[in-house]
Symmetry: C2
Subunit: 200 residues, 2 copies
């Protein structure tokens, strides 16, 4: 009887090994053989799923993005408006050790998007997907009267995404100054700005 191989599980394991390798080392110099070893497979097993490093990099990107999107969708299912926005930001800003680790992964990936049009397109479509999500909760916030009346949706989306991208880079460049307290202060300041609470 032939051995049953869970191809999805194998693919996932290889992709996770790939993400680890990218974070720990520099991907450029890493061979397919080394990635296979990190995943615990022979070189032949890995090339069956991913013919080259490019294919693996695309898979790792997609995995990371999808995972992040699912996690946030899951955590905000019951929420709407600014409450949903705050939950999204708590999940995506580099809070805690896990958040900092994630920011390191994300910025490591940025390094490859300039070198490769396919990866850049992935990064771009992921960025647009996040902006859509922010648009959705901001529209809800406006409906519910939570938003500053002077605030425009497109400008508010920028306020959120620019800060989010900024914190990723900040985490990479100044890890010692990336504290939960600093991020929390910035998040509160952003929410205050959106609520326009000061006008009252």
């Amino acid at each position: 009887m032939p051995k049953i191989v869970d191809h999805e599980e194998r693919r996932a394991r290889i992709v996770r090994a790939m993400v680890d390798v990218i974070v720990r080392d520099d991907f450029t110099g890493v061979t397919m053989r080394e990635i296979a070893a990190a995943a615990g497979y022979a070189h032949g097993a890995i090339s069956r799923y991913f013919p080259n490093k490019q294919a693996l990099l695309v898979a790792a990107f997609t995995h990371l993005f999808t995972e992040g999107n699912y996690r946030v969708a899951d955590e905000t299912r019951e929420l709407r408006g600014l409450t949903a926005l705050e939950a999204i930001c708590r999940s995506t800003l580099p809070f805690g050790e896990a958040g900092r680790e994630n920011a390191r992964v994300v910025t490591a990936f940025w390094s490859y998007t300039d070198l490769d049009p396919q990866l850049r397109e992935l990064q771009r479509s992921n960025y647009l997907k996040w902006r859509e999500l922010y648009r959705k909760v901001l529209m809800e916030a406006r409906e519910d009267g939570e938003l500053d009346e002077a605030s425009e949706i497109e400008a508010a989306i920028n306020v959120i995404t620019l800060r989010s991208v900024g914190w990723q880079m900040h985490t990479k460049l100044l890890p010692e100054q990336t504290t939960d307290a600093a991020i929390e202060a910035d998040l509160q300041s952003m929410l205050t700005e959106l609520r326009g609470r000061r006008q009252k």
Copy 2:
């Protein structure tokens, strides 16, 4: 009589060619010979100044950062406080075609900083230099009573730098949505936030 060679001029010309090559193409695959050709020199002439691509990349980074710092210092010499801050932001945010081009150069360089500790250190020290400049003008703003009393200097520095980094990435990912009007709206919103005008 030996021909007089302006070595500084040669170095500068090679570095500028290098910056062009990075923006236009992918640096990874470019040879020293091609960079020499772009600068209008023979291969031998370039390796006399820069033994390898790594040395050239460091020089190009340093050139870009220094140029930006000088330009801003020059434009804000007579200004202080929030007026100086606004002038700095006008000079560094991706306003106009020149600003957009600069953002493309900057994000192209980011791609190399993860792959190389020396370049990452350059990026980090440049980031710290900008934060120092923001600290200086924010302290002046506080002295002159321009700042929201509730605003803390460190948090305000974050508000500025996160946005600035965010706009660079935004320009790269969504060039069609990077308009002067959008940047201007964001700049004004930031200045309002720092002034805490709404409290009055």
